[in-house]
């Protein structure tokens, strides 16, 4: 390929409509296209018409840069491109590609801005656009925040359309048939005389053309793939036992390693004795890594055994040693100087509560592990002028940069193969496991090393969901909720996680109050205040961060006030609801569950909760029975509105899966710390929901919201408060602290 063509092609404006809303600084600079990484390494006769599509004379590759950790986004990205490109997503190559600026996530940072998510007026929209520009320029390629679909759907469909129209132009020039007379189908251009020309046979010609960027996306009424049940591209392999995950990688001459790190996070290494470990069968070496030791062996189990034989005198980390001490830090943090935000302050709460009969309640949620079923793992091959990493990650750009930094190589000398993940739930938004694997592999250049964490290591060294507490004060009058004041207190997840992986966004910590300040209720006197507690141990993003805790506080306290008011939990929420989309969702869940109040019979109870998170309103109704053997969750109804639904099958999977996630952890999961480390290190002490506890589910997606949104997280948050509300209805026991099995038995 000539240099001239490369330059020309790289300046093609691509997808700008989805990105910039006319922000002020450097309009040319931010509007111009991000470079196309595929152009760097294609051969003559191969076409990379956009950063998402590569066509050679024998195959079509779709670049699907968002990481699949079970949520189905690989398949979704392929279908979004294929809808416009007219290829069979099951019959092309799907490649996560290399980390690159072209695959930036424009939503994750802008979604954390301290605005009412329903406010689409000029100022919030302009600053959101600005944050997207920052993300674009930084090349931050996050998968997270349920943002993939909303962030990419238009870019990917546009990419498909640009490639299709460019291929049509190539076919037109080759055949003399006007573009308007050409059709496309299953990887072919169809001529008026029904002759089929494969895209692969047009690659060379298409590569010579300026991409056709003046495209119109198909109207949803004309969609061929989207909007109807989709067969995920990974369904078959995962059902036949043929799916390989990061942990399954096998390379020639590969060695196996594990880590034994300071149980206290960030405590460093200290003195150690590896004599016994080094004498064990199959052990090659014990190496020093960040915060601990790595053991290299010829078999993972042997590495595990040797790690257990290591004797280390661990230095103490810089945070309180026990959960009890950490809770005291939170309690003490509820003072005015720790106020971080008051993003909801309607009416006059102080005046309304002054001299009134005030309802008070305090709520708590524990540390929680992600505990994805596939333990963390990464394989690394370090060579003289190159480093290759194979792993599952939601932050490929960070792993690439880390590999370059540790090896002293340039970023261009790093190849990253992003492999499917056996779950994540936010854990792979950190890169500590890959860092360690690179540090281990650096010690034996030329030999690939797969580092696998034991389950115990995985849970001990999580970046958990933080402990979080809230105190509510409220007032009812004339059977209505009149004043609502919620103080929510936790260490700053924003500082901890963004500080490790990106830049800490300026302004209030919105994660501290997500799921509380942003709820679309019109309570006359309504205030939500975030209190930033001092840093404890490093904490991480856990499915629906912020909202998964705050929705429990917010909705539980609202339920308590509604109960005090003697009102119906659904009717009062509907009365208070000011957002039409959210109101429809509440009405839908009422209709689906045939709602007639919380009383559904002796020893039974019905609860309801709502949360607007990730731009998706979700309402859930939970029915329980208090049996002699404990609480049984009988039935759950979930209504939500994420706008147009691209794939109803996987959408239902995400709605139900995230609800089970919310219910299961509320039932029986917590990490408690003693001597700086969690007591719970495996699933016997951290179960979540099992099949025998799983209720019957009913779901409905309304499809009426104006913007298309993702569903990986939103249904998590209402689950716990709906369950607590149902247990209250059945037992008169109001649960204000998770896990609930501290107070009630479950079946």
């Amino acid at each position: 390929m000539s240099k001239l063509r490369t330059i020309t092609r790289r300046t093609v404006l691509f997808g700008s409509a989805a990105i910039v809303g006319g922000v002020a600084f450097g309009a040319y600079f931010v509007r111009r296209s991000t470079p196309n990484p595929l152009l760097a390494d294609i051969s003559d006769g191969e076409a990379a018409i956009t950063p998402f599509i590569k066509i050679t004379d024998s195959e079509i590759t779709l670049i699907v840069p968002r990481a699949d950790v079970g949520q189905g986004i690989m398949s979704m990205q392929a279908h979004l491109i294929a809808e416009e490109l007219d290829v069979d997503p099951h019959n092309v190559i799907l490649d996560p590609g290399q980390p690159h600026q072209a695959y930036f996530n424009g939503r994750i940072a802008s979604n954390s801005l301290p605005f009412d998510p329903l406010d689409e007026s000029f100022v919030p929209e302009t600053i959101r656009d600005l944050m997207e520009v920052v993300a674009r320029l930084s090349g931050a390629q996050f998968t997270g925040g349920s943002s993939s679909v909303s962030d990419l759907q238009e870019r990917l469909r546009t990419a498909g359309a640009v490639a299709r129209e460019t291929l049509k132009l190539a076919a037109s020039q080759k055949t003399g048939v006007p573009v308007a007379d050409l059709n496309t189908e299953d990887g072919h251009i169809i001529l008026p005389n029904k002759t089929r020309m494969a895209y692969t046979n047009l690659a060379a010609e298409a590569a010579q053309l300026e991409p056709v960027t003046d495209v119109t996306l198909r109207d949803p009424s004309n969609w061929r793939l989207l909007g109807k049940p989709i067969v995920r591209t990974d369904t078959k392999a995962k059902s036949l036992g043929q799916q390989d995950y990061g942990i399954d990688l096998i390379l020639p001459n590969m060695l196996h390693a594990t880590v034994y790190a300071n149980p206290g996070r960030g405590g460093g290494l200290g003195t150690y004795n590896a004599t016994q470990a080094l004498a064990m069968r199959g052990v090659r070496s014990v190496v020093e890594i960040t915060d601990g030791l790595g053991v290299i062996a010829d078999n993972t189990w042997r590495a595990f055994q040797a790690a257990e034989a290591l004797e280390v005198d661990w230095p103490k980390p810089d945070y309180p040693a026990s959960s009890a001490e950490m809770w005291r830090v939170l309690e003490d943090a509820h003072v005015e100087e720790n106020i971080n935000s008051r993003l909801r302050d309607d009416g006059d709460v102080e005046n309304a509560l002054d001299g009134a009969d005030v309802v008070r309640a305090e709520y708590r949620v524990p540390f929680l592990a992600h505990a994805a079923l596939e333990p963390l793992s990464a394989t690394v091959l370090v060579e003289t002028d190159h480093v290759t990493v194979w792993t599952s990650t939601q932050i490929p750009h960070v792993i690439r940069d880390t590999a370059a930094k540790i090896t002293g190589l340039d970023k261009s000398q790093v190849t990253l193969h992003v492999l499917p993940g056996g779950g994540s739930f936010g854990r792979r938004l950190d890169h500590d496991y890959a860092l360690q694997a690179i540090e281990i592999a650096v010690t034996i250049p030329g030999t690939p090393v797969k580092t696998t964490w034991s389950r115990e290591e995985d849970m001990t060294h999580d970046f958990p969901r933080p402990i979080h507490m809230a105190r509510g004060r409220g007032k009812v009058s004339n059977g209505k909720v009149d004043a609502y004041d919620l103080d929510t207190i936790s260490p700053s997840l924003t500082k901890s996680w963004f500080g490790r992986t990106f830049i800490v966004p300026p302004g209030p910590d919105t994660l501290l109050v997500w799921g509380a300040y942003d709820q679309p209720y019109a309570i006359p006197n309504y205030r939500v205040t975030g209190y930033e507690a001092p840093r404890l141990l490093p904490i991480g993003s856990w499915r629906s961060p912020g909202a998964c805790s705050n929705a429990f506080f917010h909705e539980s306290f609202l339920s308590e006030l509604i109960f005090e008011a003697g009102a119906d939990p659904l009717e009062e929420r509907l009365r208070l609801m000011k957002d039409h989309t959210s109101k429809r969702v509440l009405e839908a869940v009422g209709e689906m569950s045939n709602w007639s109040g919380p009383d559904i019979g002796p020893k039974r109870g019905r609860g309801i909760a709502f949360c607007h998170s990730h731009h998706v309103p979700v309402a859930e109704v939970v029915d329980v029975t208090a049996t002699e053997n404990g609480i049984r969750i009988d039935e759950v109804w979930v209504a939500a509105d994420c706008g147009t639904v691209f794939d109803p099958v996987n959408a239902e999977s995400q709605l139900i899966g995230a609800t089970i996630w919310g219910l299961g952890h509320a039932m029986n999961c917590e990490l408690t710390y003693e001597n700086y480390a969690p007591v719970q290190t495996n699933y016997h002490a951290f179960e979540g929901m099992r099949l025998y506890q799983t209720p019957k589910f009913h779901t409905r997606l309304l499809g009426k919201a104006p913007h298309i949104q993702g569903l990986g997280e939103p249904s998590t948050s209402p689950a716990a408060p709906a369950l607590a509300d149902a247990i209250f209805a059945a037992t008169a026991n109001r649960l204000r602290e998770m896990p609930f099995d501290k107070y009630v038995d479950f079946l």
Binding site: V69, G70, V231, R232, D234, T235, K236, A237, K238, S239, L240, G241, Q242, Q243, D244, Y245, I247, D248, I250, H256, R281, D298, N299, T300, W301, F304, A371, A372, L373, E374, P375, P420, G421, G422, G423, S424, F425, S454, R455, V649, S653, Q654, I656, G657, T659, I660, W661, G664, N682, Y683, H684, E687, G688, M689, R690, L691, Y692, T694, K696, F697
Partner: protein, 152 residues
């Protein structure tokens, strides 16, 4: 020592106490049985020995003297087991990491009980953890597979 896996004989030189899971994965390169917990709490490593579902993380290599079968023997692209066909039809898998273990456990269930009730499914399948929450579809797929098996 010798192992028979999916009808193939293998000679392996490992400690007798090495769990079968790690013999399969790291010595033989058979990775469909997954490591999840190492203590029989998740079921991701489930294989069959002489037709019985076992947690391969709890079987010492020296005790794995029977016929070991993995999901590769259960079915394949051309001839998926009715459970696999039902898993595909219901699109059970999300991350999928637990699903080979789920299917191997369900195969044992259906071999002994051609028409399991929900309660019987619950009793046998509750040792298999799914962090993604695919349980409702697992139940539905097992019922469908049982129906398909009864038809044959």
């Amino acid at each position: 020592m010798q192992l028979t896996v999916d009808g193939n004989r293998y000679e392996v030189d490992v400690e007798g106490e090495m769990p079968l899971l790690w013999v399969l994965r790291d010595e033989l390169g058979i990775t469909s049985p997954k490591y999840g917990c190492g203590i029989a709490q998740c079921g991701a490593c489930t294989v069959h020995i002489d037709g019985l579902a076992v947690r391969s993380c709890q079987v010492a290599a020296e005790d794995a003297t029977g016929d070991i079968t993995t999901i590769a023997t259960l079915g394949n692209d051309e001839r998926p087991h009715p459970l696999q066909a039902a898993w595909i039809a219901h699109q059970v898998a999300q991350c999928g990491y637990c699903q080979t273990g789920q299917i191997m456990q369900a195969a044992d269930l259906l071999a002994n009980n051609p028409n399991p009730s929900d309660a019987e499914i619950d009793a046998v399948m509750s040792g298999n953890l799914c962090r993604c929450g695919t349980y409702p579809r697992i139940r539905a797929a097992i019922h469908d597979a049982a129906e398909a098996l009864r038809q044959t």
